[in-house]
């Protein structure tokens, strides 16, 4: 199992690295500058140590020699600073580029995925992958790599210099420093459980808060505030106790590692100072004061790269998880493309026929089975039934948002799988109950299906849809922006704009979803009028909630639990005395 995961991780990594591949020329340049930065900045303490060695006593100081060393050091400082700047600028460019590219790819893929993907994935989650996971990926993978590189280099070079200066001191540092890492690890593993307990308490508190605050009005209606507060205080109390434990114990990491560091420092000072006093047998000391100073400054910083690297590992794991999530979108198979010989449907006549159509969202649960239906041009079909009976499924099939799993649907005698999706969909005018408008002006929304429409056409369509009178009263008329940060429209007004949108291009076939309840009486009457005007002479499928609409239809499909249980005209169905009869009569029940 874990092996499989490991391989999955490697695969994800390879795929993610491809995105960096585009910047493969910049990457080695950045690596070279990282090496330069680390090497130069680590060499500076050695030079400072050399200078300090020349500061011996009053009247003995060789100022010229010191100045020479210091000027050389200054050049190195400048060089290190410059290369550090180049390095981070380059990394920034690569990281941002990768984020941009991967986001674009993911978004493009979303537009090409079958609708079943969108219906089975929550919007918030998908958006999160495109926005946050993409960023996490770039931060973790790329910045992780450079940090890893500079961390390892720092450790190796520091150790090298220390051994060069004095192997005994190097050994002290090399042996003692890992203790601080062990301490950190020990605390992390000990506090893991505390954090888990805290997370549990937090989840409980959060769900109580969410539940109560989302329904605060009901809480008040039942004067339930005190009970709710008592429960909150109880949950909050336990959360506090667990938080304190977790926060306190995890915050011990820094003091403890600092303590280990100060022990190392003291040890280096002791061993180093004693070595300065020790003769190497050739009349000189084993170590100079300047070298001791350099060693002390290395000892001080030696744990830093270790901590950074362990941070990088977590970052890296997160990045890999993020990469997996966003690549899942990119690797999702696209909608079956239109066939090479798919015809472009011009303006259809509007003969729709379903022959032995079956469909299911999941193979185990058959939904629609063996539906056959002939709808000739200009006919009006009403679809009725209780909520959740599969009315939208039928719309999904007609518009080819989903492909049938058996049988076939044809328009004007051509199977819709042999027609390009765009041209098929252009032949349908769709007004759904959940009215979606894009965040743009009213005019742009209306022109969605016909971007080159003139203002006169737009207004004419709005008049026909009974929408003109309210649109012209909006703050900026047709230029009023809607959606995020723009004008708030009522549900009914939104639906009128959706109707206008269809009215402007007036395709030969219509799919209409009557609103159930969210519209005020007068607007409702307007929408009804607009609907019946639109339907004149067009093949229309109406998800009907009003008996008046149903009764005027040429054909009624009665749906229940995903299946068409009865078909016929109003009179025929009433005469049959079945489910439709029941539905119809319950209207009048007392």
């Amino acid at each position: 199992m874990s092996k499989k995961n490991g391989r999955g991780g490697a695969r994800v990594l390879r795929r993610a690295l491809k995105y960096i591949g585009k910047y493969r020329l910049l990457l080695p340049v950045s690596a070279i500058f990282t090496v330069i930065t680390v090497a130069l900045s680590l060499y500076i303490p050695v030079l400072v140590g050399d200078a300090i060695d020349l500061i011996t006593g009053a009247g003995e100081v060789k100022l010229d020699a010191i100045l020479e060393i210091l000027i050389f050091a200054a050049i190195l400082v400048g060089g290190a600073a410059l290369s550090q700047w180049i390095c981070s600028t380059l990394n920034n460019r690569i990281a941002l580029g990768v984020v941009r590219d991967i986001r674009n790819d993911a978004f493009e893929r979303l537009e090409r995925l079958p609708l079943s993907y969108h219906d089975s994935h929550r919007t918030g989650d998908t958006v999160n992958r495109i926005i946050n996971d993409a960023e996490q990926l770039a931060d973790g993978l790329l910045l992780g790599f450079t940090q890893l590189l500079s961390g390892i280099l720092t450790i190796v070079i520091t150790l090298g210099i220390m051994i060069y200066l004095n192997w005994a001191v190097a050994l002290v540092v090399f042996v003692l420093t890992p203790i601080s890492l062990l301490v950190a690890k020990f605390i992390a593993s000990r506090t893991f459980n505390m954090f888990k307990l805290r997370a549990e308490a937090e989840a409980k508190t959060t769900s109580h808060v969410n539940e109560m605050l989302s329904n605060q009005k009901i809480v008040k209606a039942f004067s339930h505030e005190d009970e709710s507060q008592a429960k909150f205080d109880e949950l909050n109390g336990s959360l506090q106790a667990r938080s304190l434990k977790a926060i306190f114990f995890s915050s011990l990491t820094n003091p403890l590692t600092r303590f280990v560091n100060s022990l190392v420092y003291a040890a280096v000072a002791l061993v180093g100072a004693l070595l300065v006093l020790t003769d190497n047998g050739a009349g000189a000391a084993l170590l100079t004061v300047g070298e001791l100073a350099a060693l002390l400054s290395y000892a001080n910083q030696y744990t830093k790269p270790f901590n950074e690297i362990s941070g990088v590992v977590t970052e890296f794991q997160n990045a890999l998880a993020s990469a997996g999530r966003i690549l899942e979108i990119i690797d999702e198979p696209c909608e079956i493309p239109d066939g090479a010989d798919a015809v472009v449907l011009g303006v259809a006549e509007g003969d729709v026929s379903l022959s032995d159509v079956s469909f299911s969202y999941t193979p185990e649960i058959p939904l629609i089975e063996g539906i056959s239906l002939e709808v000739t041009r200009g006919k009006r079909v009403a679809i009725v039934g209780p909520t959740g009976c599969g009315k939208t499924t039928l719309i999904n099939l007609l518009m080819r948002f989903y492909d049938v799993t058996g049988g076939g649907i044809s328009v004007d005698g051509t199977d819709i799988r042999d027609i390009t999706r765009h041209s098929l969909r252009k032949n349908y005018g769709m007004v759904l109950q959940d009215t979606w408008l894009s965040p743009a002006s009213v005019r742009d929304n209306i022109k969605m299906g016909k971007p080159d429409a003139t203002d006169e056409e737009v207004i004419a369509a709005a008049r026909a849809a009974h929408a003109h009178s309210f649109i012209k009263r909006l703050k900026n008329g047709y230029d009023t922006r809607i959606g995020e940060g723009g004008e708030e429209l009522s549900q009914g007004q939104k639906q009128l704009i959706c109707i206008t949108r269809v009215m402007l291009c007036l395709p030969p076939m219509l799919i209409l979803d009557e609103a159930t309840s969210s519209i005020d009486t007068r607007t409702e009457i307007r929408i009804q009028k607009a609907f019946s005007e639109m339907m004149r002479g067009r093949t229309s499928f109406v998800v009907a909630h009003r008996l008046s609409t149903v009764m005027d239809s040429d054909l009624i499909l009665v749906m229940r639990d995903g299946n068409i249980v009865e078909t016929g005209t109003h009179e025929e169905l009433l005469a049959r005395g079945g489910f439709y009869f029941e539905l119809f009569n319950s209207q009048f029940a007392k």
């Binding site: 300090i52 500061i55 100081v61 010191i66 400082v77 290190a80 600073a81 700047w85 920034n92 941002l96 941009r100 674009n104 978004f107 537009e111 609708l115 998908t126 926005i131 769900s207 989302s214 329904n215 009005k217 809480v219 008040k220 209606a221 039942f222 004067s223 507060q229 304190l244 600092r258 303590f259 100060s262 420092y265 000072a269 002791l270 100072a273 004693l274 300065v276 004061v289 002390l296 001080n300 909520t387 948002f401 999706r421 969909r425 252009k426 769709m430 979606w436 965040p439 299906g449 995020e484 549900q491 159930t516 005020d520 009486t521 409702e524 008046s548 539905l583 319950s586 209207q587 029940a589």
Partner: protein, 575 residues
């Protein structure tokens, strides 16, 4: 932030002791370079090995004492910040519980939840960091400078020069990039919004074949975000190289100046070494301080937002009356106007009617016509802008809200149940209700089959009642309103998810109840209100008809129109 300080008061000891211990630890850290200097100047110079050993042990001991100090400090800081935020959260939750419906509308649920969760956590972390580091970092920076002065005045002047320069670089870059990061966040939000809108509208976009346009728009916004991010990245990339450059330049100057002084006999080698060590300490602390300020400013913003909510004065009613005066009328409205905060137009205009005890009142009209507003005035969820609402002869604003709401069984539009058992949920109105009473209410609400299917009163309801269908939830919320025999029952469009037959059976069962309740039925369906003793037809906030079904059919045109759109009598209406 000041407004929140009273919640810190009970923790003032912790909040003083925490930073104090932190400073003790920092003081020890400032002494270390001096010890090293004596090791060089005395231990090495005089070849005193015993002295070197003593000093090294002193360094270790100082590390140990430092550890004790900082562990103590961490404890006090953690306790203060956790306790502080615990208090704030409790106060916040209580405040949110005390708000009126209008306050809730104005503030919004998502805001309330964010204040309770993300904002509180940010304040907790911010306070913890501030207590630990806000004093410590400047203390070390200035402490190092002061220690340098005690060693040698002339050399220490380098510190005076370099500290302001470093501060300018560190804080300058921070100030410069902070608004830019805000813009990056803004652009990120915009991109997120574009993606979300696109996904929400996926059917419409495909129906109109707009996929390519959407891709182009996303690419453009994505590029914009990238450009802005690059710009801010270029500036913040300067931070590390510039500070590195400054501090090292200062070190080089310091060493040369030190060398000159040593040559003159004013300074020793060990002292130069100490000055070098002090300079190195400054940089780390300044960068810590800059990061700290960013975190704290975020925490402060959260704190301000929390304080703003805590400062809200609840507009809920606070009368004293606990019972009515035994009036003939259950509910009376006299010339009532209602308006939602910030709305240009009134939601209800000049509504007057009265309902006797035991009567059923139907309220019909489209969405936005003011039906819910009207029934929400009865339990004083909202206050009338003008006119009077009386329950049992007493103005609702003069009631103790609890006493008033106990009289009323409310079944709101949105059928919401809470996590817990069915029994827990049904006992909301009356915590002492017996199982028999509850089952009686369930029967009237036509919910017996729901209980049969789900496993009785002990069946577990998940958060939001998501393991129930809309219709099942609705019937249980009706049962919830019926438990404890309210004198007034309000069904606010509560049967919308029920089929017509169940809806009718429900109304029949309510009508047959013993000790008749006064019932308000809000609905869009003419069939639901047809049999009421009184029907109020609302349109755009005005009562355009009040009367029985027969009366309204006769004299109210809009009522007729609604009736006929819903019940098309064969051929009586032809367009």
């Amino acid at each position: 932030m000041k407004r929140l300080l009273r919640y810190l008061k009970p923790h003032w000891r912790d909040s003083v002791l925490g930073p104090l211990f932190k400073l003790c630890e920092a003081t020890l850290e400032l002494i270390v370079p001096l010890v090293i200097a004596t090791i060089v100047d005395r231990g090495i110079a005089e070849g005193d090995r015993g002295y070197i050993l003593k000093m090294a042990l002193l360094l270790a001991l100082m590390g140990l004492i430092g550890l004790a100090f900082s562990v103590t400090a961490q404890f006090f800081c953690a306790r203060a910040s956790v306790g502080f935020v615990g208090r704030i959260r409790s106060a916040l939750f209580a405040k949110l519980g005390s708000l009126s419906y209008s306050d809730i509308d104005r503030i919004g649920t998502s805001t309330m939840i964010t204040r309770m969760s993300a904002d509180s956590t940010k304040v907790q972390n911010g306070l913890n960091l501030a207590l630990r580091l806000l004093l410590r970092s400047p203390f070390v920076v200035f402490g190092a400078a002061i220690m340098a002065f005690t060693i040698d005045f002339k050399s220490a002047l380098t510190f005076v020069a370099v500290i302001p320069l470093l501060s300018i670089v560190v804080f300058g870059i921070m100030l410069l990039t902070m608004p830019m990061y805000k813009r990056v966040q803004g652009k990120t939000d915009a991109l997120l919004c574009t993606a979300r809108e696109n996904l929400d509208g996926v059917r419409v976009i495909r129906a109109f074949g707009k996929e390519e346009d959407e891709i182009a728009e996303f690419r453009e916004e994505n590029q914009l975000l990238t450009t802005v991010s690059k710009r801010v990245g270029r500036i913040s990339a300067l931070m590390n190289p510039l500070t590195f450059l400054l501090i090292n330049a200062a070190i080089l100057v310091l060493i040369y100046a030190g060398a000159v002084e040593v040559n003159l006999g004013n300074l020793s080698q060990g002292q130069v070494l100490a000055l070098y060590n002090y300079m190195s300490q400054i940089l780390v602390e300044l960068i810590k301080l800059a990061n700290l300020i960013i975190s704290i400013s975020k925490a402060l913003a959260s704190a301000t937002r929390i304080a703003d909510v805590l400062d809200v004065e609840s507009t809920d009613t606070d009368g004293k009356a606990v019972c009515g005066v035994g009036s003939e009328y259950a509910v009376e409205l006299r010339g009532v106007y209602a308006r939602y905060a910030g709305a240009p137009e009134a939601a209800l205009e000049n509504i007057s009617f009265s309902a006797k005890w035991g009567e059923t009142v139907g309220i019909i009209g489209g969405t936005g016509s003011g039906k819910s507003t009207l029934v929400n005035l009865i339990p004083a969820f909202y206050r009338a802008e003008a006119g009077e609402v009386l329950v049992d002869g007493v103005n609702v604003c003069d009631y103790d809200p609890r006493a008033l709401r106990e009289m009323i069984g409310m079944c709101p539009q949105r059928a919401v149940l809470f996590s817990g058992t069915v029994r827990d949920n049904l006992k909301w109105r009356d915590p002492n209700a017996s199982d028999e009473e509850i089952m009686e209410a369930v029967k009237i609400a036509q919910a017996s089959d729901v209980l049969d299917k789900k496993g009785g009163l002990d069946a577990v309801i998940e958060e939001g009642g998501r393991n129930l269908s809309g219709g099942q939830r609705q019937r249980l919320t009706i049962a919830r309103a019926l438990v404890g025999n309210p004198r007034i029952l309000v069904l606010d469009d509560s049967a919308s998810a029920l089929d017509f037959a169940t809806d009718a059976a429900l109304r029949r069962a309510i009508a047959d109840m013993k000790g008749k309740m006064t019932v308000f039925i809000v609905s869009q369906r003419a069939s639901s209100v047809m049999n009421a003793d009184k029907i109020i037809l609302l349109d755009d906030g005005a009562a355009v008809g009040i009367g029985t079904h027969a009366e309204l059919m006769e004299k109210c045109e809009l009522y007729r129109e609604i009736y006929y759109t819903q019940f098309k009598k064969g051929g009586s209406e032809n367009e």
